[in-house]
Amino acid sequence: MALSGIQIYKMLPQTNCKECGFPTCLAFAMKLAAKQVELSACPYVSDASKKQLAESAAPPIRLVTLKAGTEVKAGNEVVMFRHEKTFYNKPGVFIRVKASDADAAKKVAAADAYKVNYVGMDFVIDGFAVEADGGDFVGAVKAVRDATKRPLILIAKDVALLDSALSLLAGESALIYSADASNYEAFADVAKKHKASLVVTGDSLDALADLTQKIQAKGVEDIVLDLGGKNLSEWLQRSTQARRLAIKSNFRALGYPVIFFAGQNGAAKEPVYAAQAISKYAGFVVLDTFTPELAYALLVLRENIYTDPQKPIQVQPGIYEINSPKPESPVLITTNFSITYFAVANEVEGSGLPAWLVVCDAEGMSVLTAWAAGKFDAERIAKAIKSFNVADKVSKKRVVLPGHVAVLSGELEAELPDWEIRVGPREAVDLPGFMKQALN
């Protein structure tokens, strides 16, 4: 739990020597409590106080990092609702394969190669889970490791098997699944030996809390919770409870990221299960099905839920050249909201038609939102055309407005008297057709 200024003050030397730049230790303590200064500014804090202060500053949900050729982070969250601040670490999306599956490595390779672009960002599958199910587990882990550089989750009941498989992954931080009340000692030992993170399972939050404490006592800090639960309802409740306990009650024993297996009740329910897990607090989501269409939808959902509500995703205002435009190519006008920009840019690019795309500073808002908010009007558009020197680049002074803001054309004519103002279609999908037919 965050300490108050007074509590921190009690841990300071209380000599008021002013070296930290504050007149008194109390003043410094207040700033520390407000997280406006670093503890290191005071040269005289005792080691014991340092340790205590560091612990109190630890995030309510521990950051767990899985590492191989790439990294996946989970935890470090501080709120229940994204509007309260933001959600930070997007849940890692993993695909599970079984050791007995002769095609496991092939499936992994296909999913590993997957990459999809959403408003300028490339999304990929974060890692893979290999489950021991009677086949050659160690061999399967090796084959999977050859097929991907991404972090792995190893699922097995037999600790000796895990030990051998983890030996193949030297230098990595894998996640192993899972310790329960009956086997946690051996699992903790193997996790510690290989610097792996460890999933704990239990059929209640009480049982889980009990286990995480025991495992911590054995020196394993990087713990992940599998909350169990048989359906959406139980899972939602448990994950809400665990998050609340960690964030609101500062209950350390459950202050760990959560893993969720979305395929547990069959492939038909998997999309919906994964969607709930993404919105409701999972740190790792494991899928049994990999299809591009499902991966794309889930990765976009994850991006949307984890976008910082204070900052819409934006692109830099300016003039963008699409398909090597020439002086006679058309000039299209849009806003600097990423979703809007890419909707338009992708359509034009895909059509192969050259164009100049003028992106106005509309404070990161969509066409209609910006228009309604007064951030995308004739004046701003004219200003953009002038400040980006569009006239110097083109031979035909003609601009195309988004169809949704057709009402602006009159005012824009007044602002840009020597330009021809055209109104384009409402939706970007119809732009290529419009450019072919109406712009010649």
Binding site: F81, S233, Q237, E293, Y296
Partner: protein
């Protein structure tokens, strides 16, 4: 030592709103649908049961739309030419409510006829949407409200521009209104105040906070709904109304659902993707407190209804 689970105790609750009137209640519906009544955040059964589970409405149109995805044409087929047939098929597909969306081409007489034919074809409660231009909406919705007096249909879409006319006719004819505002807690409150100030009881209003599709602004709708529901539970009377959302309308506008060709290979199979788009948009909104979920594809209806069943199951 057993953990003490922190439980929220809220001073406020969501009002119950009923759509549709049965014969006993002065209408002709075979059943009515009640939503709302929650005393805590969605599906936190450890705090309180879900008194009325969210319901799914299917959107149909008075005329076959020419701008809908061909995938929807595939499932609804010829029924799209006749709202009565379409409504029947929608009922078979699991709709709890029918949404009939009118078009600019409808005359008031046509619109009334279409509404009557849908009421005749199914026993489900009905929501009627005007074509979305304030004046035209008024021209169509007023005669419809009069012709269906006592049926307790929901009239939409009631916005700051046209709420007076729609609220007045809803009051005179025993209907409910769908109050839409553009993704903003304060605007939603304001419109509810304006509507109830006219004398329409709050239990005849459903909020439509507007939503965006997955990938197209859903995060704004999601958070506005969470904030509206939190405000309601904290005791703010003008936010204590059930919420309707339109993931079908939004998701099927997205290129991901609409278009099958010339899209990146990484988008995968068109049909499966389109259904995921609609279902995941809906699912996120279910988690954030939606009470009426308006969809378009029968497969999405099935998935969302299954999910809701699981969420309310003790």
């Amino acid at each position: 030592m057993p953990i003490e689970i922190p439980k929220d105790k809220w001073p406020g609750s969501v009002k119950k709103v009923t759509l549709g009137a049965t014969t006993a209640e002065g209408g002709t519906r075979s059943r009515s649908v009640t939503v709302g009544g929650q005393t805590t955040l969605p599906y936190l059964l450890f705090e309180a049961p879900t008194p009325n589970k969210p319901v799914v409405a299917i959107e149909i149109k008075s005329h076959k739309p020419d701008d809908w995805s061909p995938l929807l044409g595939e499932v609804w087929g010829d029924a799209m030419n006749d709202p009565a047939q379409w409504a029947k098929k929608a009922e078979e597909a699991g709709a709890d409510i029918i949404v009939l969306a009118l078009t600019l081409a409808d005359s008031p007489e046509d619109a009334v006829k279409a509404v009557k034919s849908v009421l005749g074809a199914t026993g489900l409660p009905l929501i009627v949407w005007g074509p979305g231009q304030a004046e035209k909406d008024n021209d169509l919705l007023v005669p419809i409200a009069e012709a269906t007096k006592g049926e307790k249909i929901m009239l939409g879409i009631c916005e700051d521009k046209n709420y007076r006319t729609i609220v007045a006719t809803a009051m005179a004819n025993g209907h409910v209104v769908q109050a839409r505002t553009p993704m903003d807690v304060n605007l939603a409150k304001q419109l509810n105040i304006l509507i109830t100030d006219m004398g329409l009881p709050a239990d005849r209003v459903i909020m439509d906070p507007t939503t965006g599709a997955l990938g197209y602004g859903i995060e704004y709708g999601y958070s506005v709904m969470e904030r509206l529901r939190l405000a309601a539970l904290q005791g703010d009377g003008m936010t204590q109304l059930p919420m309707l959302v339109t993931p079908g309308f939004e998701a099927w506008k997205a290129k991901e659902s609409k278009v099958g060709e010339g899209v990146p290979e990484a988008w995968g199979d068109w049909k499966a993707r389109a259904i995921h788009w609609e279902t995941l948009t809906a699912m996120a909104l279910v988690e954030s407190g939606a009470d009426i979920i308006v969809l378009r594809h029968p497969e999405s209806v099935k998935r969302v209804k299954d999910a809701v069943e699981e969420l309310v199951a003790a």
